[in-house]
Subunit: 146 residues, 2 copies
């Protein structure tokens, strides 16, 4: 079933603080002081890594039973390389992430082989991971002056 | 300068709740009840849209002066299409977003032409947008049983 998900992002008066919202939920985003922010929240690229890890975690929780895989605890550690010269216009390197690496950690009595097969399923199935791995058609629909 | 950004995501005991963290900041993620969650926070795909909008908002704030573009207020509205049959394994449609659309809203006295040129710069420069538009090399480095 095709669904449309929505969000908003609104600049707050202070520096680079942003209030994002989706349905009735809000997430604050900021930049560290080294990048001109006030450092009250994660930066957008950190929030992107967090969304990817959350997506993988939810796939693990949602599909464990169907895969006859049981675990007591699960977490993901993520890191991504980004050259800020691209963002700052100092070089023609891409502004986005060059690579994102992640490790999955299960507290489980299942075999390593079974854990690796389930991890591969999680990687492939996670919607945020698929969006990043294969790209998405981004469309600027309108620029509105108010 | 190449920088490495980090985050973690950890399954909480309740249902599909996830605690994500980066540096000393946390963001909770959940799913709506219709998808088996407890609906206490944005879902991962909503958080992805929020991260994209926040990134564009910060680029607008950071680069306005250099582009001789002034505005009093700025916000982005985003929406993305995703077919949950892909995620659920009910069809071979991709699990990720098929398209993400966004509109940028400036409260400004600048011309429409100048606003559109600045919006195009924002779209191109935002690291989260570049990551999504052009894809990222995702690497599962390790599956650890604890």
């Amino acid at each position: 079933m095709l669904q449309t998900f929505k969000a908003k992002a609104r600049k707050l008066p202070a520096g680079m603080q942003v209030e994002t919202s989706s349905r009735n939920f809000k997430i604050l985003i900021d930049e560290p002081q080294s990048l001109g922010g006030t450092d009250i929240a994660m930066s957008p690229v950190e929030a992107l890594l967090a969304a990817l890890g959350a997506c993988q975690t939810i796939v693990a929780a949602a599909f464990a039973k169907a895969h006859d895989f049981s675990f007591e605890e699960f977490h993901v550690e993520l890191e991504g390389d980004l050259d800020s010269d691209g963002f700052m216009g100092k070089s023609d390197v891409r502004p986005g992430f060059q690579e994102i690496r992640f490790s999955m950690h299960f507290k489980t009595t299942e075999s390593q082989e079974k854990a690796e097969a389930f991890a591969a399923f999680i990687e492939k199935t996670c919607p945020v991971g698929d969006s990043l791995a294969h790209g998405v058609n981004l469309v600027l629909t309108e620029v509105v002056r108010e």
